[in-house]
Subunit: 201 residues, 2 copies
Amino acid sequence: MADSGFTIWFTGLSGSGKTTLAERVREVLLGRGLAVEWLDSSKIRREMNRDLGFTRSDIEANLRRIAYECRLLNRNGVIAIVSAISPYRDVRDRIRVDLVRFMEVYCRCPLETLVLRDEHDLYARAERGEIQNVAGMNAPYEEPLKPEVAVETDRETPEACVARIVRTAEILGYLTPVAPSGYTPEQEETIKRRLRDLGYM
Amino acid sequence: MADSGFTIWFTGLSGSGKTTLAERVREVLLGRGLAVEWLDSSKIRREMNRDLGFTRSDIEANLRRIAYECRLLNRNGVIAIVSAISPYRDVRDRIRVDLVRFMEVYCRCPLETLVLRDEHDLYARAERGEIQNVAGMNAPYEEPLKPEVAVETDRETPEACVARIVRTAEILGYLTPVAPSGYTPEQEETIKRRLRDLGYM
């Protein structure tokens, strides 16, 4: 059942490109006339979950509320795009099981690169011990073991990342393919082989 | 813009018929082929907001999260039906302003009738001081001053209540009218006069 609801879940460290890619994927899908909601974890914390801090259980509560929204939206035909550090693997995996039509996108970027870039002075402040709960620095981040897509945001262009995310959603049957895909048959085969190897096809 | 999203918010004391009417209104709207989500406050407390108790600020937090869901659903064309005691007038009124396409249904039933009926032994236990936070008994309930619909659930049949709720949504332009309405011209005029008097038309 293509073009009914599903969830694209962006995970990764702060500054790894989740927001940028979520926004661009959203634009592509809106351009196809689809109903899309973008749920950004920081925004939702500010608007709805101000009571929650950064203990493991508070992080989990925040993510489970976001997943609850996704479920409501998905079953009404709306695509949910989530951008959330979502550092705990088992929490993400349980959300995957709950939502069923789910796709995990890992925004991978080496911590050294993030520390160098550090647009919001986040990592520097964590290093100086001024702030806590910075995933990858003084708080855990558990990489996905089997994300549907892993993008290397320090090396790939946003366009290339977005194209691969959208194409993967098409191959998984979540989106109606828009021909041509722009990939060579070999590149298509690489994406499909990966999804088969991971057990998603 | 008929048949796009809007919210029907049922308020009233425990046992006043919110759940019954919400369920029946949902069936009518589903029967018209519309997308509908029913958000029941107690269910959402169990599933998503287990951290919240019954202080005024916790009640407000629960309702504001429900309203947040409504907003997401409504702007994607889904009708949200809420059943929630929602005892505080100013909280309901702020949600009304936020959601815009909003309709308040007050399930009015005298406390004496509820105490006599008392299917879940709720009011008796509150009377014996065994439980707290029972609206109308040992916790506040502020009646709506200007609900779009007030149903007298101790005297009207569920069918009559549902018909009036749905007809009101049609008159307000939230639903495409399904002819015939079943009301006499005089009854139609009564509903419209009420909405005009309240400033909703």
